[in-house]
């Protein structure tokens, strides 16, 4: 884990409220793994006070990218970053996705901005010869992100883009196709979606890893602010920032 003074290369708007921030930091780029996140001090002032966590969306050479939606003060500041500015980044944090497992097809399931970690993951999965199938969902077309996804099917609550319904409903309706194949699911999105994805995987006994969210204060294990219930030990919380953000679906009980 490092503290890096990363240089802003560009801020690009790729959707109604979806932005890519490309940053330069050789140290972070060299050490990043898909599913890990960076924790960004978006301003030099006390406003906002705490760092903001973002999945590493992609890595290229000395550069890495985050993908974000503007939801509050911190993301608003990020959205206004200018090329050449420096940003204080801590990373790469958390454990990331494990590419291991007995599968040939990787099924990516994204809900809204949960699409963020997948460009990087897809790249790494392709490197080791996995086949990629993507499902991306959102409330409306504007919330459904397919950036750098492969073989992607979409679902929207209002039917404005692809399947009408949730992304997990879409997945359910499609899963029969992969009945005789060795698959592994990689999911990321809001907790409600991850919960239904978890249920889906349990019912069908499919191997899956999910990237979770939690409010955080530190992002590296010292504040105990980001617990998630361990599924195996009732007396134990796991930390999203340190033990996660990626967990095997079997390991946690989502709130």
């Amino acid at each position: 884990m490092f503290l890096a003074n990363a240089k802003v290369d560009s801020v690009t708007q790729i959707g109604t409220n979806v932005f890519l921030l490309k940053l330069q930091s050789d140290k972070i780029a060299a050490n990043a793994k898909p599913g890990q996140f960076v924790n960004i001090k978006v301003s030099n002032s006390n406003f906002p006070l705490l760092r903001r966590p973002f999945s590493i969306c992609n890595v290229e050479g000395d550069y890495f990218t985050i993908m974000f939606t503007s939801v509050g003060e911190g993301t608003l500041v990020l959205q206004k970053k200018q090329k050449g500015e420096f940003v204080d980044v801590m990373g790469s944090a958390g454990n990331g996705f494990s590419l291991d497992g007995n599968y040939e097809k990787a099924i990516i399931v994204a809900g809204g901005i949960g699409a963020a970690p997948f460009p990087f993951l897809i790249k790494e999965l392709e490197k080791i010869g996995k086949e990629i199938i993507c499902f991306s969902g959102g409330r409306t077309k504007n919330d459904c992100i397919t950036y750098e996804m492969k073989n992607v099917s979409t679902a929207t609550d209002d039917g404005s883009f692809g399947f009408k319904g949730t992304v997990v409903e879409l997945l359910s309706s499609e899963i029969a196709r992969y009945k005789n194949e060795r698959i592994k699911i990689f999911g990321c999105g809001p907790n409600a979606m991850l919960k239904s994805l978890q249920q889906f995987c349990f019912t069908r006994n499919i191997e899956a890893e999910i990237s979770t969210e939690s409010s955080m204060a530190c992002g590296f294990g010292i504040c105990q602010g980001c617990p998630v219930q361990s599924a195996t030990d009732k007396n134990k919380f796991l930390l999203v920032c340190k033990d996660g953000p990626v967990f095997n679906v079997k390991d946690i009980e989502l709130p």
């Binding site: 406003f47 939690s214 204060a217 010292i222 105990q224 602010g225 980001c226 617990p227 340190k242």
Partner: protein, 305 residues
């Protein structure tokens, strides 16, 4: 090597410099050691330890507020036994003071914890948390009751072979009366302050943003309050003070020393700038040089009213 002497004493405890990391904001030292050289700072205060492991509160546990944050961790900790077994071996490797913070729900539990820990050489002092606002049993009750504070101090002192610091709650009318109670019961110093009780609501769900309903407010927002508490103690009670509350820069730290603190603790800032404790050392030297202060300890209580 600078000519400025940064060393300070907190009662009988000698520190390389006044920079301590506050309980609950540094875990047991391992994560933060990726960012700083623990050998360079005065010491660290462990997350509050209780006799048995505590799972802590149900999330959501933290939320940002203007220039601050609320937390209700609920003293989640691994318990004294596990601490001795798994954390001490790591901490042993460092030449820094380890101050063990203890939280308990009864006088007996405080005593029991102290007994189990006091023979461990790696531990330099105890900080007794009588003031955690986020735990139902004990917690606030002790912190708001002078007699209880005195009793805990007295009993812990009896069994401790190390200096004992009492960490005071700011959620009282006159903190100096608690400092006096601690002093009279034998405390070697007081730590001031713990967090202020606060809350926040989600206006859509009408639920508290912190599952525990209330949480402890920390960060720059509370600095003026913390400074006033330190000053109040300094002007009323003759006991060493460890200043805590909203320190985010070396300038903030200097303010605390001027107001009366012999040493200070960095809390919330560790979450944001985990390396600040180390970078602050040089800034303090430069300040002393500029102000022609040969020994940083001379700053303590040097206010001019």
């Amino acid at each position: 090597m600078s000519a400025v002497d940064l060393s300070v004493s907190v009662g009988p405890l000698k520190l390389r410099n006044p920079i301590l990391l506050a309980s609950g904001t540094v875990g047991y030292g391992n994560e933060i050691s990726e960012f700083i050289d623990l050998n360079k700072i005065g010491g660290i205060v462990t997350k509050s330890l209780s006799l048995k492991p505590r799972k802590g509160n149900t999330p959501q546990r933290v939320i940002e507020t203007p220039s601050g944050m609320l937390n209700a961790i609920g003293l989640a900790n691994i318990g004294v036994e596990e601490f001795l077994k798994t954390k001490i071996p790591f901490l042993k490797k460092f030449d820094t003071k380890i101050i063990c913070n203890i939280a308990a729900s009864s006088v007996e539990e405080y005593v029991e914890c102290t007994k189990l820990l006091t023979d461990e050489d790696t531990i330099s002092a105890f900080e007794i948390n009588v003031s955690c606002p986020n735990v139902k049993e004990g917690g606030l009750e002790f912190g708001n009751d002078k007699k209880a504070v005195a009793k805990i101090t007295e009993e812990v002192k009896k069994v401790s072979t190390k200096p004992v610091f009492i960490k005071l709650s700011p959620n009282v009318s006159r903190i100096s009366e608690f400092a006096l109670a601690a002093k009279e019961a034998g405390a070697d110093a007081v730590s001031a302050i713990n967090t202020l009780v606060g809350t926040a609501f989600d206006i859509m769900t009408r639920k508290p943003k912190i599952k525990n309903i209330t949480g402890g407010l920390s960060g720059p927002a509370i600095k003026p309050v913390a400074l006033a508490k330190v000053l109040e103690i300094r002007r009323n009670v003759d006991i060493p003070i460890i200043g805590i509350g909203g320190i985010f820069s070396w300038q903030d730290a200097v303010e605390f020393m001027i107001a009366g603190a012999s040493a200070f603790q960095l809390g919330t800032v560790n979450f944001v700038h985990p390396n600040i404790s180390e970078t602050m050392i040089n800034d303090l030297i430069l300040y002393c040089e500029k102000m022609k202060i040969a020994s940083l300890k001379n700053l303590t209580g040097s206010f001019i009213l």
